[in-house]
């Protein structure tokens, strides 16, 4: 299951101090059509009156993953992000004037990355918006397994996150919106960072990604193991 955004929907947090420091975001995203003005923002942060901003999207016309700020922007050349395919995308933005990095993986695991001179906004950020309808350039598509950390994650950490909707890194986890149960702004990270819905996001089919739990494997009572009838051993980690 995934949440469906149709340009006029979004999940937003106001008065959030997160983006004044290091932060990272990842999600599975499926673009269904290009926004009429811009291809559609996956997530954006800005202050008031938008003197500083940072946004994560695809470039218009060329379907390249992009990380942009008022300081600079850069794109990932390959793999591209065409319509009607699932991609796992992530970015990591250290605090201050340090370069940000963006990554994109296709479902075969092919990865592309780029870095550039984006930077964290210097002013206090007051709005942080997934799918970003308020900008008028909102995402037209689906999203699942969105995770946001107040830390700069590495490529290896994102690779651990890719094939599990359940977070692997709990430290600094700001928000986790799996959207397995349908559209909701509830944060499952335990941090209580509920997101406010704009419009009425709906639900649709999700990405080819599991929850990340282990199947149960039952041992052999006849072999003399000290287990009772029905005892279940979760012995495999996926």
């Amino acid at each position: 299951m995934a949440v469906v955004f149709a340009n006029t929907q979004a999940y937003t947090r106001n008065s959030d101090q997160l983006t004044v420091g290091s932060h990272s975001f990842c999600a599975w995203i499926y673009r269904t059509s290009a926004n009429s003005v811009l291809p559609g923002l996956f997530i954006a942060a800005w202050d008031t009156p938008q003197t500083d901003y940072l946004y994560f999207d695809t470039t218009s016309g060329t379907d390249l993953l992009e990380l942009a700020s008022n300081e600079a922007n850069f794109q990932v050349a390959s793999p591209t992000f065409p319509l009607n395919v699932w991609r796992f995308v992530a970015y990591s933005q250290p605090s201050g004037a340090n370069n940000g990095t963006a990554w994109i993986w296709d479902t075969a695991g092919t990865m592309g990355t780029a870095s550039g001179a984006t930077r964290c906004p210097t002013n206090t950020i007051v709005t942080f918006s997934i799918a970003s309808a308020a900008t008028g350039y909102g995402l037209l598509g689906r999203m699942a397994g969105a995770k946001l950390w107040s830390a700069a994650l590495t490529q290896a950490e994102f690779e651990r996150e890719m094939w599990s909707l359940r977070p692997q890194r709990m430290a600094n986890l700001h928000s986790w919106l799996p959207w397995v149960g349908g559209a909701s702004g509830v944060d499952y990270s335990g941090s209580g960072n509920t997101w406010t819905a704009a419009g009425s996001p709906t639900s649709g089919d999700g990405p080819p990604v599991g929850w990340g739990a282990a199947p149960y494997i039952i041992g052999n009572p006849a072999a003399g193991r000290v287990i009772g009838p029905g005892t279940i051993w979760p012995t495999v980690t996926m």
Partner: protein, 158 residues
């Protein structure tokens, strides 16, 4: 006496890149939603537990998102690889022939659960310690015209 060997939950499934059941919830119950018009598949990876020796069967717990007595059909495949086998895992899959259930009538009342039993005659010579994948697919030649929600698959040893 039959012994339960694997309990395969929706949360532990993994998926091909296309044509896979949606991982969803119904009343907070995790389900795999198998479509009625697109043949969808998912997998579980397990180790064959020590002591495994008998014939296996799969019991698929399922309910529908519509009422009706039309039938569902599921297929279960097993891929068992013993360390040292000549199977080229880098080149492709080696699932044994699909084991198909009979046509099982869905409950007349929407939301009621039934079970679909599949005898795993073709179990790829599974043996204790094997690396095993189990594939589950709905056969869309069945007649149940709605999503089939799988809540659990039990692999049982006779």
């Amino acid at each position: 006496m039959a012994t339960t060997r694997f309990a395969l939950t929706p949360e532990s499934a993994h998926f091909p890149s296309t044509n896979f059941p949606a991982l969803s919830t119904v009343n907070a119950r995790p389900v795999l939603a198998f479509d009625t018009t697109t043949a969808e598949t998912c997998y579980w990876t397990v180790v064959a537990p020590q002591g495994l020796a008998g014939a296996l069967s799969a019991i698929i717990h399922v309910f529908g998102n519509a009422a009706g007595t039309n039938t569902v059909i599921f297929g279960v495949s097993v891929e068992a690889v013993t360390p040292g086998d000549a199977t080229d895992l880098d080149a492709g899959t080696s699932f044994d022939t699909v084991n198909t259930s009979g046509a099982v009538a869905m409950p007349a009342t929407q939301g009621h659960q039934t079970s679909v039993s599949v005898t795993l005659t073709n179990a790829d010579s599974i043996a204790a310690g094997d690396y095993v994948r189990i594939s589950l697919a709905r056969d869309i030649s069945d007649t149940f015209a709605a999503d089939a929600y799988v809540t659990l698959v039990e692999i049982r040893e006779a």
